[in-house]
């Protein structure tokens, strides 16, 4: 009782302490729901998913540079220049060596594309959980189409580097690439057949077309229906499905056929083409930071444009000054900024490529007048009105050769030459590449397995997928 009285006597203090306890105990559940960091989110809304797709650093700078570095667009100025190349990969790509990476890890030519595909897979995994309403349906579709289109674009960029050219006769036996379609990192996918890889790419594109808007987007890092048609056309051309390639080119050109008149292109500006220029339908570039050769910049004076290629340009061709700049100290020609607004190769989709596809496909089915008409429409914008000469009076073979030559000149430094070489050699063009260094001649014969780049060693070691034989 004594103790009880003491407690009662000091009831005020007890009460105070009790209150303290109650305050402690009454912390709400939400106390632990606070976000640990302001910047983080679990993407759940359409805006957040779009935020992932707007990540152009991941999605729009992923094209492998290997095909550019192995191509005949350029040459090293000397043996010494080649020796002092920035990375071993650049040296080895140039001479089509058996081992390209020399143990380099984290090869972005491979990893960047898959990183982008992972983004697309995550977007596609979250989308079904979002309820479609009349007010969000347009954005919903745009995002769905965007993710499907982007996955197709990235898969195709990978397959044209790491697999042989598409050949219907062998496609079900040729090795394609791993095609991860789920948003999980604990699953290793083996290489699918080349046929299955292309089937998936075309399937993705087919899903994208109806979801994407016909109107051209405000910013050309976002795809539109024209972009999907253009990509269809590019892929089908590389598969030598010329009739279909032409159909899709038509569809794209029906939406946009604007060309830039090179008479108005600055010859002094470091950035001759605007970021949202009229010709670009969809904007991407090759990987940034890993190599110097692909920088169309003066940082790399070890290389110059291939004299054989330069010889193909007419001296009045406005593309000479729009695409290249002379380094007065060395006499080397280096590449200026192209349609991509950063210092790497433009690898996206543009109307000029569609004109060339259309022209080539017409020529292949011997519609020569129409074919050359498309070619002349393009070339008219590449010469001054006074120096422009119409291409005419060629037979099928000469016309095709001229169109392919124009294709090479127009699409220079876009990583497409390598894909064209693979395709054209399949057509029997019999193009052999040679390099000479320090008295040693290196050659790359048509359909050589070295046209297919090795998969980086760390991928092989960690996933156990099959390596390409070179």
């Amino acid at each position: 009782m004594y103790q009880f009285r003491t407690i009662m006597k000091n009831w005020k203090i007890n009460y105070l302490l009790l209150c303290t306890l109650i305050i402690f105990a009454s912390c709400k559940k939400s106390f632990l729901d606070a976000k640990p960091s302001s910047g983080i989110l679990t993407p759940k809304t359409l805006n957040e998913l779009q935020g992932l797709l707007e990540n152009a650093d991941v999605l729009n700078k992923s094209t492998p540079s290997l095909s550019q570095m192995a191509s005949d667009d350029y040459v090293f100025t000397s043996y010494e220049s080649w020796q002092s190349a920035y990375t071993a990969t650049e040296r080895n790509s140039y001479i089509w060596a058996k081992d390209i990476y020399e143990g380099a890890s984290q090869v972005q030519d491979w990893s960047s594309g898959y990183q982008g595909i992972f983004y697309c897979n995550n977007v596609l995994a979250v989308l079904p959980h979002i309820v479609q309403t009349p007010s969000n349906i347009q954005q919903y579709n745009t995002i769905k189409g965007w993710a499907n289109f982007m996955r197709a674009f990235l898969l195709y960029d990978l397959v044209r580097n790491f697999s042989p050219a598409y050949d219907p006769a062998t496609a079900d036996k040729d090795l394609g690439i791993p095609v991860p379609l789920e948003a999980r990192v604990d699953q290793i996918v083996p290489r699918s057949s080349l046929k299955d890889t292309y089937t998936q790419i075309l399937h993705d594109l087919r899903s994208a077309v109806p979801a994407l808007s016909v109107a051209l987007p405000l910013n050309n890092n976002r795809p539109s229906r024209a972009a999907a048609y253009a990509l269809f056309s590019r892929i089908l051309l590389s598969m030598r499905e010329y009739a279909q390639a032409e159909l899709y080119a038509d569809s794209a050109l029906a939406i946009t056929k604007t060309l830039i008149d090179y008479n108005g292109v600055s010859t002094t500006s470091a950035t001759p083409f605007a970021i949202n220029n009229a010709e670009t339908i969809f904007s991407t570039g090759s990987i940034l930071n890993q190599y110097q050769i692909t920088y169309p910049a003066s940082v790399n004076t070890q290389v110059t444009m291939n004299p054989e290629l330069l010889a193909l340009y007419d001296k009045n061709d406005l593309r000479l000054s729009a695409f290249f700049r002379l380094n007065t100290a060395t006499g080397n020609l280096y590449v200026r900024r192209g349609y991509f607004f950063q210092t790497t190769c433009f690898t996206g989709l543009a109307t000029d490529e569609l004109y060339l596809i259309k022209s080539e496909c017409l020529a292949r089915r011997n519609e020569l007048t129409a074919s050359l008409s498309w070619l002349n429409d393009l070339l008219r914008k590449r010469f001054s009105p006074t120096s422009f000469r119409e291409v005419s009076g060629l037979n099928q073979q000469a016309a095709l050769q001229r169109i392919l030559e124009e294709r090479r000149k127009e699409l220079v430094w876009r990583t497409l030459r390598w894909t064209d070489l693979k395709r054209l050699n399949k057509e029997g063009a019999n193009i052999t590449l040679t390099r000479v260094l320090n008295g040693v001649t290196y050659t790359l014969t048509p359909n050589d397995p070295k046209y297919v780049f090795p998969i980086p060693d760390d991928e092989i070691a960690l996933s156990g997928i099959t390596q390409n034989l070179r």
Partner: protein
């Protein structure tokens, strides 16, 4: 004076607060006393044992001298004991207090026990941050560092004082991977934070540890095993360091203590790192020049070329003759850049420390007030820092001592000046000044001839003159840190044995960083010029970056609330059953905000800026080259929130001071992201057992007067908030090329994520010999980590290159031995030794992700740990010497090989060799303290044994990286030992230099066994000499006690196993210069 005035104001304010806090000491009548009857046989002696505050001490031992008869005081301190003879002597003792002896008939009614003032070699009270436990009652593993040991060292940072004197704790200098600065008992995590948890008084301290003035620290307890640390739950897996500050003393007249010292340190040893002679380096440049390696830069016209290459270029162009060229090269080779560094950049460091404190108390209150000021001038000309700290604590007891109120304030303000120009030489002959000491322009990112003529005078001067930047404050970088910690605590005795307490602490820290890049600075001129555009036709210059200073500002603020409600129950039943229990809950709410921005065209006078003239979305082409970039406004803001809600219980039961059982349990819940509420928490527990063998009646082993056995088992954890179970993305605030903001995936979904757990097992023996000649403890521990989060490379086809998740288990074992020996006490001479020996190993017991190949294992085992080996293992390519052309050779599938690419890609584990661990397996110290009259000398030797490091090597790649502008690539080892001619392979292991560089070849050498060195060494850590005088001895002394001391540290290695002139703790850097301190401490 300007600087001091604000401080003076703050001090006055502070003293006012202190006065308010220090309530008048109300006297209360002490409890009734009992007297002992005198004379007769078989008397009963009764009394009460109290502490300095008059509070009863329970569990004090009252023993009749030279017998085994003893009793314990009860909860209020009362005792009674039957004594046969009134001449018998009673010894009253309690751990943590000085023992007292009385004749049975002279026992006072109130025995006032005096707390240990914290002398070396004495066991005391350990603190867990929740309670103070007498050593005798503890089952867990604690290390106590008292003020005497902490004050032995002179340092600005309190944690530095643990180095080399703490059992089981090591400072990691040889860092790699995710290595913390301090480790307690090895390692038990992979990718999570491996640093110990730091507690300041009652709660975790989230501020900068350097804000704590070491002079305010009374003691530090390091909690090592589960029983000790599991009360801290999920953050205790790496051990806990509990810092306790002074709180004053009851019933003590005000005591003023003054402490002042100055520490002087030398310049860093610029000759420690080997480097190429100037001639040799120019030779390398000539070789590269002849190979055309500089042509890219020469051709672009603006890139940086060294003075030597400029001369070579003049010669190649025919501007100068061969003879002139040689003369010019010889002339630049005459200059050694290190002379400039010594003359202009480095000077001796001077650190000054002042502190004054007052402490004392009445019957019902105690207080401690201190003020400290530190001023440190670093050994580079600009870096300096000062710190002002104020600390006050007041404890009042009321209501017949039922209620105790503790209030405290800690305030720190520090300012740091950092060398903003950050001069780093690029060439060994780089010359900063002409003969008259006038600053010379050097090349940095741009070529000098380019800078001389660029813009034809229309741009700002683009020359870089480091000496100007060093000598003038063009760039100032100031960091201002203000930190407050306010705490309040109430403790109320509901019943005599039941106390309810509430504790609250508020922490706030403000960190302001301002970097002013004045217009004259190279940084600002370079920035403005780079963005400038000259209209070729009109010659008009436009400046997208406005003319004026550039101010980079960043501010971070954190604040934290900690609250705790706790019930303590302490009761002794029947004099034999002691129960001590506590339980309660606590919360932590920590938030931090970060903001940064840059102001262009800043005017120091008016504080006006011209940011509104900047268009941050435009990509401006650079003035040179073909790059283009936006003008960075560096506007960023971010916040983090860290919340915990925890429930805890800790109890112990002691039977007859012989058997002790302890148990603890804790549940932590945190605001983990993307986790369901029921997965936000983790329950952890521990149990322990101790046996005070020497208290047993049957114990008669004379040599050891004290012997205790103890064992504990339990779980603690680690927190890793960087991973989440769901897909997590981050809005970076950045925009893509089309000026649209985007988000980045930071964490792939991982539904199987779990909390990390660490299981601790500890066995210990504590002992003390007769007359305390030798005392100490031996402990054996096993620490096992489960579900540890690791970051391992995974196949890139998954879209990520690193997978972070629960991938590993690991186990550590070790032995901690701590011995204190009073070797000699002869008259006025005394000699004692403190000896620590620690053995620790760790081993990965399972790892879910397999290593890619041998290169991945050799290049960094901490990224891809191997089962069966330590996290800190070093693996190497076996060295098979050089071939006849100076090429390194290793092993491929058992055969000597030069296929470097295949060697690195090999997955044949037999092709690599285990070289040892990066952290020592054995470490400890031997400290000898000698005293003679008022003179004391203390010498500490530390040792680290059985570990290895890779010594610096001749890097072909670095030496031949012609266009590299950063780094000191002329600082290379073994240049003269390299293979040059056939036959050299018999004498040397240093490969020849080849061009172009083969990086795989270099890696095989760099990571070979040829470069593995044993780190074993013994170091003379520090020496302290002090002389003290006290008023008791010298009556004329104006102080009660005064001591002067000198303290020398970083004295160097006295033995090492390796023959190389390398300090194993600083294999890559430069060792800390020797320092010597002089100081004075007085109390009155």
């Amino acid at each position: 004076m300007d600087m001091i005035t604000p401080y003076a104001l703050r001090i006055m304010l502070f003293l006012k607060i202190v006065t308010l806090l220090t309530c008048g000491s109300a006297h209360h009548v002490l409890a009734a006393t009992f007297n002992s009857p005198v004379g007769a046989k078989n008397i009963e002696v009764r009394g009460r044992v109290v502490d300095e505050a008059g509070k009863g001490i329970s569990g004090a031992v009252i023993q009749i001298k030279d017998t085994q008869r003893k009793v314990l005081s009860n909860a209020e301190g009362y005792f009674s004991i039957a004594v046969v003879n009134s001449n018998a002597v009673l010894i009253i003792s309690h751990l943590g207090y000085h023992p007292q002896e009385f004749r049975a008939d002279k026992v006072p009614a109130l025995i006032r026990m005096v707390e240990y003032s914290g002398q070396l070699n004495e066991v005391g009270i350990v603190s867990t941050g929740y309670q103070n436990i007498p050593r005798e009652r503890a089952t867990g593993s604690f290390v106590l560092l008292d003020s005497a040991l902490l004050n032995r060292k002179v340092s600005t940072n309190i944690l530095d004082r643990l180095d080399g004197v703490t059992s089981g704790l090591i400072f990691n200098r040889n860092k790699t991977g995710n290595t913390p600065d301090i480790s307690v008992r090895g390692r038990s995590t992979i990718a999570s934070d491996a640093s110990p948890l730091i507690i300041l008084d009652n709660f975790p301290y989230d501020g900068d540890i350097s804000n704590i003035n070491p002079q305010d620290v009374k003691s530090i307890t390091v909690l090592k095993d589960a029983a000790a640390s599991s009360i801290w739950g999920s953050r205790a897996g790496n051990g806990v360091i509990v810092i306790t500050t002074y709180k004053g003393v009851f019933n003590q007249k005000p005591m003023v203590s003054l402490n002042s010292n100055v520490t002087i340190g030398g310049r860093p040893d610029l000759y420690y790192k080997p480097q190429l002679s100037n001639q040799a380096f120019i030779g390398i440049e000539q070789f590269l020049f002849d190979k055309g390696a500089y042509n890219t830069v020469i051709n672009n016209g603006y890139g940086s070329l060294s003075p030597a290459v400029e001369i070579m270029l003049l010669s190649r162009k025919g501007t100068i003759t061969q003879q002139r060229k040689s003369a010019m090269l010889d002339s630049i080779a005459m200059h050694d850049n290190r002379d400039d560094l010594k003359k202009y950049y480095y000077h001796p460091s001077v650190n000054q420390q002042y502190q004054v404190s007052i402490n004392g108390g009445g019957a019902n209150n105690k207080y401690y007030v201190s003020m400290g000021y530190d001023q440190n001038k670093a050994n580079t000309v600009i870096n300096s820092n000062d710190r002002m700290s104020l600390n006050a604590s007041n404890t009042v007891s009321m209501l017949k001592k039922k209620l105790e109120v503790v209030t405290g304030i800690m305030f720190t303000s520090s300012r740091t000046n950092v060398d903003g120009s950050a001069y780093n030489p690029q060439f060994p002959y780089e010359n900063l000044a002409d003969q008259n000491g006038k600053a010379l322009a050097i090349t940095r990112t741009l070529r000098l001839p380019y800078v001389d003529t660029v813009g034809k005078g229309r741009l700002l001067d683009w020359h870089y003159k480091p000496l100007d930047e060093i000598q003038n404050p063009f760039v100032t970088q100031r960091l201002k840190v203000t930190d407050y910690r306010i705490n309040a605590g109430l403790s109320y005795a509901i019943l005599k044995s039941l106390h309810l307490s509430g504790t609250y602490t508020y922490d706030k820290g403000l960190n302001e960083q301002v970097r002013r890049n004045g217009l004259p600075s190279y940084y600002t001129r370079d920035m403005i010029n780079t963005y400038s555009q000259i209209n070729q036709a009109t010659g008009v210059v436009t400046y997208p970056v406005p003319l004026g200073d550039i101010n980079d500002n960043s501010t971070s603020v954190y604040y934290a609330h900690y609250g705790r409600a706790q019930l303590n129950y302490d009761k002794l039943f029947n004099g034999k059953h002691a129960v001590n229990a506590l339980g309660g809950m606590e919360i932590k709410d920590y938030q931090s905000n970060f903001n940064s921005y840059t102001l262009y065209g800043f005017d120091q006078e008016t504080f006006a800026n011209r940011n509104n003239t900047i268009n941050p979305t435009v990509l401006y082409p650079a003035f040179y080259g073909s790059g283009s970039s936006r003008i960075p406004l560096n506007i960023a803001s971010a916040s983090t929130t860290d919340r915990y809600r925890s429930y805890f219980f800790n109890g112990s039961y002691t039977y007859d001071s012989r058997y002790i059982l302890s148990a603890s349990a804790r549940k932590d819940e945190s605001n983990l992201f993307g986790v369901k509420t029921n997965q936000k928490g983790v329950p952890l527990w521990s149990a322990g057992l101790a046996w005070n063998l020497s208290n047993e009646r049957f114990y008669h082993f004379e040599p050891f007067t004290y012997l205790k056995l103890r064992a504990t088992y339990g779980y603690s954890g680690n927190v890793n908030k960087s991973v989440s179970a769901y897909l997590t993305a981050q809005a970076t605030g950045q925009s893509n090329l089309w000026n649209i903001p985007y988000v980045t995936i930071t964490n792939p979904p991982n539904p199987s994520l779990r909390w990390e757990q660490v299981r601790n097992i500890n066995f210990g023996i504590d002992f003390q010999t007769k007359a305390n000649v030798l005392s100490g403890s031996v402990e054996y521990w096993i620490k096992s980590g489960f579900d540890l989060i690791g970051a391992s490379p995974i196949a890139q086809q998954t879209g990520v290159s690193v997978f972070t998740g629960n991938t590993a288990n690991m186990r550590g074992r070790g032995v901690d031995v701590a011995l204190n020996s009073n070797n000699l006490k002869a008259g006025s001479f005394g000699w004692s030794t403190q000896f620590h020996f620690n053995y620790n190993t760790d081993q990965i017991t399972s790892y879910k992700v397999k290593a890619i190949n041998n290169a991945a294992i050799v290049l960094g085992n901490y990224l891809q740990p191997l089962v069966g080996y330590s996290y800190y293992s070093i693996f190497s390519y076996p060295w098979r010497g050089l071939d006849h052309s100076g090429n390194p050779q290793s092993v491929l599938n058992g055969n000597t090989s030069k296929d470097y690419s295949a060697i690195s890609k090999s997955t044949n584990i037999a092709d690599i060799a285990y070289s040892g661990t990066l952290t020592p397996k054995y470490f400890g110290n031997i400290m000898n303290n000698m005293s003679w009259r008022s003179l004391e000398l203390s010498v500490n030797l530390t040792y680290k044994l059985k570990y290895v490091y890779r010594r610096p090597y001749l890097s072909n790649a670095s030496l031949y990286s012609a266009n590299s502008t950063g780094g000191q690539r002329y600082q290379q080892s073994d240049f003269d030992q390299r293979w040059q001619n056939p036959g050299d392979e018999m004498k040397t292991d240093v490969p020849s230099l080849i061009y172009p560089v083969n990086s795989a070849r270099e890696e095989v050498y760099k990571y070979s066994t040829a470069l593995i060195e044993k780190g074993d060494h013994v170091r003379l850590q520090d020496v302290r000499l002090s002389y003290s005088l006290s008023k008791r001895k010298v009556a004329r002394l104006p102080f009660d006690h005064v001591s002067i001391y000198t303290y020398a540290s970083n004295l160097g290695i006295i033995w090492k196993s390796s023959k190389y002139r390398i300090d194993p703790d600083y294999a890559q850097g430069i060792p800390l210069p020797k320092t010597i301190a002089f100081g004075l401490k007085a109390t009155f």
